[in-house]
Subunit: 250 residues, 2 copies
């Protein structure tokens, strides 16, 4: 068993604890929660601490806190030469304090409260400062995912930017869709099968082959009637720029 | 059995023929293909015509052609007072010729070549000029979908605009994601589990509750590092406008 300390109690930390609880090769020996929050629903309270000085020995420390807090948290660790990783897609491995052996454990996924997730198909992107640390990190990652990949900081940044487009921005288009439905007394539920099919198509077709709609057909009459229909200036602007981008870039 | 003639041989027409072929309550008695294309893979060639004058009697004529061609096709029909519907999300029922009883049969879905689809969960939006025609149209729709809904032209337009955001624009964000991955030597396949989870979350969470990422957290450092990373001006512009929209509207 590989002993792991999870540092953090937010969204990603909670998902990781829940998932590692089901792993046969990882033992969560401690959780550090700065906010001293109640985590009984996830882990025995005797394993939770809010004091850095009480951190126990472990094979791996996973810092799962907000990007801005990673450096500060890693500076506070009261030990040296242990394997410490963060889980951020956007932060360099260098943000971690030099006292310890550094690494990154980045699950390429979106984590929301109130929505459990199975990470088996989720790529876990690994980066290590010392090659000798890769095996431990790989074993931990493989215990929860079938897709474990070594990824350097530049590639990870590309993946993180990609994820913003494919997840955050896509979700915002769902939000606009929801607003348009609400404003016009049609149920957002009616759009859900279309949302699923649009995602499913991309599993087997290229985005270019999958594209449909008035912009792809350069159907100016329909495009203009949509722009007339939309009253919200922000929605109009997003409609225009994405339509133009489809026409220009396919 | 309700006898149906499909007018059109494109994407939507082909999907409808394939799906109606499996229905026990609908009999496709004829397909009109202006382009005289070979449709042997879908239907017996004796049932295909390219001559309006050869159109046979039927309970329902479904015009599944491009938006721009609907009016012209309906003007060419050499009969009167029969039930004729189109399948467009964006065109009014009024675009159909007054010679016949009008209706709309709009499956709220995206149809691509080389991707079969089951319409059972797809809303079929119906509109009729004469209430007495609703039952026939409803029976046909219910033979392929569990979600059949009466929708007027204004609601249908709202749904169509919504569909552009939730499908065409979302797919274009997948396209940009694909481009970013290609430009940085990471596999687009790595993003696919995230794409599926992003869509699946929306089945149970509201878009606002589902949102994650640097824009939602107003993490300016990450946002700026992404903008520096992106070299394509079009990608930058789309990143900026969608980030601003998330910050302003949640």
């Amino acid at each position: 068993m590989i002993s792991v300390v999870i540092i953090g109690s937010g969204n990603v930390a909670q998902h990781l604890i829940r998932i590692f609880n089901q792993s046969n090769s990882v033992n969560i020996v401690q959780v550090f929660s700065r906010k001293d929050m109640n985590m009984d629903f996830l882990i025995d309270s005797s394993k939770v601490t809010n004091q850095y000085r009480d951190l126990v020995a472990a094979d791996l420390y996973i810092i799962a806190v907000s990007d801005n807090a990673i450096a500060e948290v890693s500076n506070q660790l009261p030990f040296k030469n242990r394997l410490v990783v963060h889980t951020s897609g956007s932060m360099s491995i260098d943000v971690l304090n030099n006292n310890n052996r550094k690494g990154v454990f980045y699950p390429l996924q979106t984590f929301s409260k109130n929505k459990n997730i199975d990470l088996k198909q989720t790529p876990i992107c690994l980066e290590v400062q010392h090659n000798s640390d890769y095996n431990v990190l790989e074993t931990v990652a493989q215990s929860i995912s079938e897709k474990v990949v070594p990824i350097n900081s530049t590639q990870r940044k590309a993946l993180h930017v990609s994820a913003v487009f494919a997840c955050n921005f896509v979700n915002h288009l769902y939000k606009i869709t929801n607003d348009i439905c609400n404003d016009n007394n049609v149920a957002f539920d009616m759009i859900k099968p279309l949302i699923m099919e649009t995602a499913q198509k991309i599993m087997t077709l290229s985005p270019t082959a999958a594209q449909t709609g008035p912009a792809k057909r350069q159907n100016t009459a329909v495009i203009n009637s949509h722009l007339t229909f939309l009253l919200d200036e922000n929605q109009k602007e997003i409609y225009k720029i994405l339509t133009k981008s489809i026409i220009d870039n396919g």
